[in-house]
């Protein structure tokens, strides 16, 4: 029971990506992040935005320290250390209240080798794992206390701020629609987008003022359970509908196959920004077909997510989210969840967040609330 509750309610939000920036006309992640998929290290412009969007709201000044410049190979190495500490209290109907502290360290590095080539990696260590739910038809990958969530070799067609074509190969999380950092939401946790899902892949990013196209092919990461080493491909494509940088609609579609299970996912989504507030919405339809002799036939999963967020201050963002998950027989599930979160970016180095989430199982009537306090710290890049 303890394990089930923790797995279902784990709010493993690394809080390192800000899709809420759609409210200010940032249509995709490539403007501020080293990797166009988003999350992880920031480029120089992103660091200035990070500083501007904090309570400190100061001017970002790149270091002029000679030692640090030398250590960063004249600016070619971007790196930081990050710590995310989470205190979580959760319970469930007829279950005791559980408290859990999860600490996670990350070392992130991106090194430029010449004008267009970049190697990057993220090494993570943690005291408590937060695997996605272990399902009968799709077991979670094996978590380890130290692992590499991302290791990529990337080539950008031309260097500089105006570049808009990149190829990457290695292991990483697969592209996702709304691209929220909260890995516990159904659209992620039920579509193999958990913290330990880092398939081997090759992907392309091509983006412009109104579009972003991201085809990808993937193979097993190596940490999957026997028979679930998945191979496949997909494409994420999005478009700024009204052309004002604040109305992005897209779809992420993929097909994967493994010895025991095939799955096909189609997930339309939208990111909308209206100045101080905005909306995220995603609906993923996943069909799974077991490949075992005598196994069950194809069944469908629907995972929906919607959030309304409001930036009371540039550094203080509140959000209310609702979710729904349904899975057809023979693995029937019907879950709804709702939550509130408040994120305060005290400085580029410190982010404090509180969140609540209540999940209700409509089949067995079990309700599972959770409260999480999270502090994220990172060294200056």
């Amino acid at each position: 029971m303890r394990r089930t509750v923790l797995v279902l309610l784990a709010l493993a939000a690394p809080a390192n990506a800000l899709p809420t920036m759609i409210r200010l006309g940032y249509v995709n992640c490539a403007a501020c992040h080293v990797a166009p998929q988003g999350g992880g290290l920031l480029n120089a412009y992103g660091r200035s935005i990070d500083e501007a969007q904090s309570l400190r709201a100061g001017e970002y000044q790149p270091t002029t320290n000679a030692v640090i410049r030398a250590l960063s190979w004249g600016g070619r190495i971007t790196e930081d250390l990050r710590f995310v500490g989470q205190e979580q209290v959760s319970t469930s109907t007829n279950a005791p209240v559980l408290g859990l502290f999860r600490g996670r360290f990350m070392y992130r590095n991106a090194t430029e080798l010449g004008r267009s080539l970049r190697v990057s990696a993220t090494l993570v260590g943690e005291n408590e794992s937060a695997a996605r739910p272990a399902l009968v038809y799709e077991p979670a990958v094996r978590p380890t206390q130290v692992y590499v969530t991302s290791a990529l070799v990337s080539w950008r067609a031309r260097s500089g701020a105006g570049s808009n074509l990149e190829f990457s190969a290695g292991r990483d999380q697969l592209p996702s629609g709304v691209n929220l950092p909260d890995l516990a939401i159904y659209v992620r946790s039920r579509n193999r987008l958990g913290y330990y899902d880092a398939p081997t892949q090759i992907k392309m990013f091509w983006w412009g003022k109104r579009y972003h196209v991201n085809p990808y092919f993937f193979g097993p990461a190596g940490n999957e359970r026997s028979g679930f080493h998945e191979t496949g491909g997909g494409t994420l494509a999005e478009f700024d509908v009204l052309g004002h940088g604040r109305t992005v609609a897209g779809v992420n579609a993929l097909h994967g196959t493994s010895a025991k299970l095939d799955r096909t996912m189609v997930g339309p989504y939208a990111r909308l920004g209206f100045g101080k507030w905005g909306v995220f919405a995603e609906h993923d339809i996943t069909t799974r077909t077991p490949n075992q002799a005598g196994g069950s036939s194809t069944f469908r999963q629907d995972a929906s997510y919607a959030q309304v967020f409001w930036a009371a201050r540039e550094w203080l963002v509140a959000g209310v989210a609702g979710e729904r998950l349904t899975v057809q027989s023979p693995y029937r599930e019907s879950l709804v969840a709702g939550g509130f979160q408040l994120t305060s970016r005290l400085s580029p180095q410190f982010t404090l967040a509180i969140s609540t989430r209540i999940q209700h199982n409509q089949l067995n009537g079990r309700t599972s609330p959770a409260f999480t306090l999270q502090l994220a710290m990172k060294t200056p890049q």
Binding site: Y45, A161, K209, G245, G275
Partner: protein
């Protein structure tokens, strides 16, 4: 004359025929500028535009005269305070450290049906340059609803395109105006300025 424009003219025909003052308080003006990075464009907005003009009805339609408009620089916001500071510093501040209001003046503008082509002088940093904007008018009882789009080139004012860590704004700023013009109170009382 369009069906939208007609009611306004009918209601105020007597006042307008002899000339009436119209005023704008709290009009909205917004801008969009693209940057060297495809995913970034900067938007700004103010709802503090003030304007007034004298309007007359003649045989050819409406005639606007003595058009003046101003926007306080501090009222223009982009949603990010640091970016607002940069905008004021790099775009609107004069060499001697002042930030004069944006000002527009035009002697006259002729209107055909529901569009007025307004040509005059737009001053940024106190430096005036020719500026033209077509304004679409829609009459609604005692008021005009007005909207228009135009472009301002920073280079026309000798302003360098701001750049922040490799992200450089375009030279062309797309402007959008949207406001409601009403007959000025003094004009209503006097039946129009003579």
């Amino acid at each position: 004359m369009t069906k939208h424009f007609a009611p306004f003219v009918c209601l105020f025909a007597s006042a307008i025929a002899s000339g009436a003052d119209i005023a704008v308080e709290g009009g909205a003006a917004s801008f969009v500028v693209s940057t060297s990075v495809p995913a970034i464009s900067v938007k700004g907005k103010t709802t503090a535009m003030h304007a007034h003009a004298r309007v007359q009805q003649n045989a050819d339609g409406l005639q606007l005269e003595q058009i003046e408009a101003s926007i306080p620089v501090k009222s223009i916001l982009t949603g990010m305070s640091i970016r607002d500071e940069h905008m004021r510093r790099y775009i609107f501040t004069t060499a001697d450290g002042k930030t004069p209001d944006l000002r527009f003046e035009a002697a006259a503008a002729a209107c055909s049906t529901s569009i007025c082509q307004v040509t005059g002088t737009l001053a940024i940093r106190g430096v005036g340059r020719p500026f033209s904007i077509p304004l679409k008018l829609r009459g609604d009882g005692a008021t005009f609803h007005v909207a228009g789009d135009s472009t301002v080139r920073l280079s026309d004012y000798g302003i360098e395109q701001p750049s922040q860590f490799g992200v450089k704004t375009s030279n062309d700023i797309q402007l959008h105006l949207e406001f409601t013009a009403k007959e000025a109170p003094a004009a209503i009382a006097s039946g129009g300025r003579k």
